[in-house]
């Protein structure tokens, strides 16, 4: 097994005369690697279960008859292994190579793997120069495989790594080894092209050039590539990526096996989505509005104008007439300098970031109940959990690599999985996490809050309670039970369609867990009541006594790559760097001392507040960095009129986005591929982003632009490079910035818990423990605008690879739902509600529950006009992902 059991029992063996001491259960091939003996292999891969099909790894083991496959033999005490010192093993390996080369074409000069190919390397090592075979080589006719992935089956050594990866790691099972013997060929389904998650895993794991990426095909030879280790900029999982560049062009991205939080695995966005930085539409010069047109200008002119305008607005209306909004895609250093600029140079706390769109709900719940603003668990805890509860995650599409951790826990380590998801168990072309659930509570996207209450009610009814805490805080327990008792199972059934025994079973499984991790996704964090639901899940962990146990905790999933960093760097108005409160005078005082500039004592504000104030004419200028609120928020948020009313709008952007088109000045920023810095992933782990290519045109890193502006505004914050910013942050926040291979999870703070269970819970327990009003009219459908696996915001629409997989929006329905309404795949439908009507084509997906329709948010430019908008009273998170709509087939379509 790839993961030796956790016991510390060891065995000692010798390999080619070297002594190795390894944990019991370690495979001989791994033990050999540890003492520097590389046993050649094709089918073995540390990620996969041994298959021992290629026979390349044969070794001689004393007292064992015949040669043994070191990839499937466990090391035992006193074992004597001979690899390169065994003539017999060397001969056997030559023979294996001879069999492979009997069919392998002499393709190396045109093969993208040439130069990093295991077959080449082993052939070289074992000097297989002559062959006993004279027969013709097998020839597979070349077939089109897919837009992104190419196969060259003549090169295949039939190790089945790709097939096993797609099954064991991805749970997608899209690859079929067809036929038998030498004629085995990797295909998709029949003559159809590959339809899968396009994670690129099969490309990465193929030891030869049989599966390769079409995006980089024939564009390079591996030895021409320059490697730059960095971090993916698409989602909160924060995968390690390596940019491979040639002459300043991005050629491909991969991830080193075993490295990063992702252990070398990637998703489609990370693997195939890298062309954004090189898109021809990139802004290369600052733009200044002249009437309806933009004019390109030099940096000086643009910076002077922005600085002057900000000073003018400040002089005329006060600093609080200026607001700022920064994207969670920026680096920690960018966000830190931005908020320092806004607070210390402009003199306002009115800033916000994309963490507001949902991640704040999770962070605030953690902070309120356990006193940490980070997870108290890590990815390793997910993998080793014995019980996992997923709520509203659709984890495959939102946080695919965290999803792999869940798959690892369930598929390989036998963890129990409980899911409360708006998904049906159904097999499709991408994996579906609820297929792996022991207990699946399927609800509509509007049903999460009721289902969470149902689970809590079952927990209380079964008395799966922490007696010790109950003794200490009886009032808290009583308040919860009383409110849950008041909810009837009938009412819960009416809203979820789930009977009480399902909740009871799930509660029992949950209660039995020793290491329990609760993952919360956008279905909860971004829909109405998101904060309350997250709080109730904290209650669930707390009353069952799990919260403070090692390996247990709540894990809200960050959607954008640096949402967590945006919060920690003080990117959300009322929170200062380190997650401390702006309202605390002592904190403010310390910070202003460190900065040498006063921190204004005015309140911070959220994006919804900024919009409202702009509409009312109280906000005059807005500085938008990497955010595109016009394309993110629905019209019902009032964003259009808000922006229109501004006297001055500056956008700092890669592209001329919808919002930037409305700006007075547009400043060209460079992408994550062109700068240094750090991102903080969803589990609170800080990782380095590194420069892979030169800055495009005149674009500059965000922090440099803020710094230059501060000079223009006669209040300079100067930094020589990004390291200086990092140093300043580290000095300010000692201990919270652990760069390194793995994060140190935060520990729940018992005084925070004590405060919560004695008084703080009272504040909002009543609204949290109420069933939502069920206003379902029979013919209506719940529309959920949601994240697709193949995109990230609107940003990834500039990635040509991802557009090959998904280029347009469709409304997706369950086939039966569609059939009942006389709608077929591809039909045009009119989607309407009181806010408007939209025409869109239909797609069918079995994983979507009946009564529900989904639409990818990346293509929502039309459909978002149907979305109502509501703001969380506690966290100011804007909710706009769900709507009730009518569907009607457009006749004649």
């Amino acid at each position: 097994m790839p993961t030796p059991s956790t016991t510390t029992e060891t065995v000692t063996l010798t390999i080619d005369g070297q002594t190795a001491t390894v944990p019991k259960g370690t495979l001989v091939i791994e033990a050999a690697r540890q003492v520097g003996v590389m046993v050649p292999h094709f089918c073995y891969h540390p990620k996969l279960t041994p298959d021992a099909n290629c026979r390349m790894c044969l070794v001689e083991i004393e007292k064992m008859p015949r040669l043994q496959t070191s990839c499937s033999t466990q090391a035992t005490e006193g074992m004597v292994v001979k690899s390169s010192s065994s003539v017999q093993a060397q001969e056997a390996r030559k023979m294996v190579l001879d069999f492979i080369l009997a069919n392998h074409p002499l393709d190396c000069p045109v093969c993208d793997q040439g130069g990093r190919c295991d077959l080449q390397d082993f052939s070289h090592e074992y000097t297989a120069t002559s062959s006993r075979f004279q027969e013709l080589k097998r020839v597979f006719p070349k077939e089109y495989f897919s837009p992104l992935i190419e196969t060259q089956m003549n090169r295949c050594v039939q190790c089945m790594r790709c097939v096993r990866y797609c099954d064991q790691i991805m749970d997608v099972k899209a690859l079929a080894p067809t036929g038998r013997g030498t004629l085995t060929e990797i295909k998709a389904f029949g003559a159809h092209e590959l339809d899968c998650e396009f994670c690129g895993g099969c490309v990465q794991i193929c030891p030869v050039g049989a599966i390769t990426s079409r995006l980089s095909m024939y564009e390079f030879r591996p030895w021409m590539l320059k490697r730059t280790d960095s971090v993916c900029g698409y989602c909160g999982d924060g995968c390690q990526i390596t940019f491979q560049t040639k002459d300043n062009a991005l050629i491909e991205i991969n991830s080193t096996q075993g490295s990063g939080r992702n252990n070398g695995d990637l998703c489609a966005r990370g693997y195939f989505g890298y062309h954004v930085s090189e898109h021809p539409d990139r802004l290369t010069l600052p733009l200044i509005r002249k009437g309806d047109e933009f004019q390109s200008v030099q940096w000086e002119e643009a910076l002077e104008l922005v600085g002057q305008q900000l000073l003018d607005v400040k002089a005329k209306y006060g600093a609080d007439a200026i607001g700022g909004l920064i994207s969670g895609r920026c680096t920690n250093e960018d966000i830190y300098v931005f908020q320092k600029f806004m607070r210390g140079v402009v003199g306002t706390n009115r800033i916000d970031s994309s963490a507001r769109y949902g991640h704040l709900n999770g962070v605030h719940a953690l902070q309120r109940v356990q006193g940490t603003h980070r997870w108290s668990v890590s990815f390793e805890d997910i993998e080793s959990a014995d019980t996992l509860l997923l709520v509203g995650t659709n984890i495959t599409e939102t946080n695919p690599i965290t999803g792999l951790k869940v798959k690892e826990a369930v598929k390989r380590r036998g963890a129990k999985l409980i899911t409360i998801e708006a998904l049906n168990p159904a097999i499709g072309s991408i994996s579906n996490i609820v297929n792996l659930a022991q207990q699946h509570l399927g609800v509509k996207p509007t049903g999460f809050s009721t289902a969470i209450l149902g689970l809590l009610k079952a927990v209380v009814e079964q008395s799966i309670l922490d007696a010790e805490l109950q003794g200490k805080a009886p009032a808290y327990f009583n308040a919860i039970s009383a409110r849950l008792q008041a909810l009837s199972w009938d009412a819960i059934f009416a809203q979820t369609g789930l009977a009480s025994d399902l909740f009871t079973e799930a509660a029992q499984v949950f209660g039995q867990g020793k290491k329990v991790v609760v993952l919360v996704g956008p279905g909860v964090l971004r829909s109405e009541g998101g904060f309350g639901m997250t709080m109730n899940l904290m209650d669930l962990l707390l009353i069952t006594g799990k919260l403070t146990n090692p390996g247990c905790g709540l894990a809200p999933l960050a959607e954008e790559n640096n949402d967590q960093g945006a919060f920690e760097m003080g990117g959300t108005g009322a929170v200062l760097p380190g997650g401390t409160s702006l309202g605390d005078p002592a904190v403010r005082e310390n910070l202003s001392k460190a900065w040498g500039r006063p921190i204004p004592d005015t309140p911070g504000s959220s994006l919804p507040q900024l919009i409202e104030d702009a509409q009312q004419g109280k906000l005059k200028a807005l500085f938008v960095v990497g955010e595109n609120p016009l394309a993110s928020l629905p019209p019902s948020s009032g964003i259009h009129s808000a922006l229109e009313k501004l006297d001055f709008l500056v956008c700092q952007e890669l592209f001329l986005t919808e919002t930037a088109q409305k700006a007075h000045v547009v400043l060209p920023a460079c992408s994550y591929a062109e700068k240094d810095g750090t991102f903080t992933n969803t589990e609170g782990h800080i990782q380095s982003v590194r420069t892979a290519i030169d800055m495009v045109g005149e674009s500059r890193p965000d922090w440099e632009i803020f710094s230059a502006l501060s000079v223009m505004m006669n209040n300079p914050m100067e930094y020589g490079d990004v390291k200086e910013i990092g140093k300043e942050i580290r000095n300010l926040l000692p201990g919270t910035r652990t760069l390194g291979p793995a994060p140190l999870p935060a520990q729940p703070d018992s005084s925070a818990i004590a405060r919560y269970v004695t008084t703080d819970y009272q504040r909002d327990i009543a609204p949290r423990y109420q069933l939502p009003v069920n206003d379902a009219a029979t013919d209506e459908i719940t529309l959920q605008v949601s994240q697709s696996l193949f995109h990230s915001g609107k940003f990834s629409r500039k990635a040509k690879g991802l557009l090959q997989v998904e280029a347009t929006g469709k409304i997706y329905l369950h086939p039966e739902e569609a059939a009942r309404r006389g709608i077929s795949d591809g039909d045009m439908v009119k989607v309407s509600n009181s806010l408007g009507e939209v025409l869109t084509p239909v797609g069918l997906r079995e994983r979507i529950p009946q009564g529900v329709a989904t639409f990818p948010e990346h293509f929502d430019e039309e459909i978002r006009q149907l979305l109502p908008y509501k703001v969380d009273p506690e966290t100011q998170v804007p909710y706009y992902k769900l709507a009730r709509v009518h569907l009607k087939k457009v006749v004649g379509s």
Binding site: K173, A174, L175, A176, T178, F189, I427, N435
Partner: protein
């Protein structure tokens, strides 16, 4: 849809196995019995019942030469090409058929009557060269015999030269 048409039989098959995917081969047999080959819709249906992906079903179908992935003619001529038969000139059998019907292995006659395939050992090595036509064996083939079999089958849909297979004991204990 195949599985609805044979609901009871499918259920009976499924009930035989504690692990669902074990029912894959019997269900594929059912599909081929019905259509003469395993069609893509059938593979998708079977995948759905067994909670597999279509590629997983496809992979299994391609492993067994007895499953046809394309529609075949009314009579499926499967000539054994394994060692024993090869020693007694199974190659000639293929040539005779090709000459007579004007098709090569893998092809079907224009009138959709005959499909020619070459297959691995059918367990009649002692009586080679031989071929299996649909469920029947024709053994110790000569050119004359092959021509007669093909003529009979084309004309009558039957041929009394068939000689097997004799492998299933009947309930009376005797071979059929």
């Amino acid at each position: 849809m195949l599985l609805e048409k044979f609901k009871d039989e499918v259920e009976e098959i499924l009930s035989r196995y504690p692990v669902k995917r074990s029912a894959l081969l019997p269900l594929l047999n059912l599909a081929q019995r019905e259509e003469g080959f395993v069609s893509e819709p059938a593979m998708r249906d079977i995948a759905k019942v067994l909670e597999l992906t279509p590629p997983q079903v496809f992979e299994t179908v391609t492993f067994y030469t007895m499953f046809n992935l394309k529609p075949i003619g009314k009579f499926h001529l499967q000539v054994c090409k394994s060692l024993m038969c090869a020693l007694v000139r199974s190659d000639d059998v293929v040539t005779w058929i090709s000459k007579k019907l004007n098709i090569v292995p893998g092809q079907t006659t224009a009138d959709n009557n005959f499909t020619l395939s070459v297959v691995e050992c059918l367990g009649s090595c002692g009586t080679g060269p031989m071929m299996q036509v649909n469920d029947d064996y024709y053994e110790q083939l000569t050119e004359e015999k092959v021509v007669r079999v093909l003529d009979d089958l084309a004309r009558d849909g039957n041929c009394h030269l068939k000689s097997g297979p004799f492998m299933f004991p009947t309930t009376s204990g005797k071979s059929r």
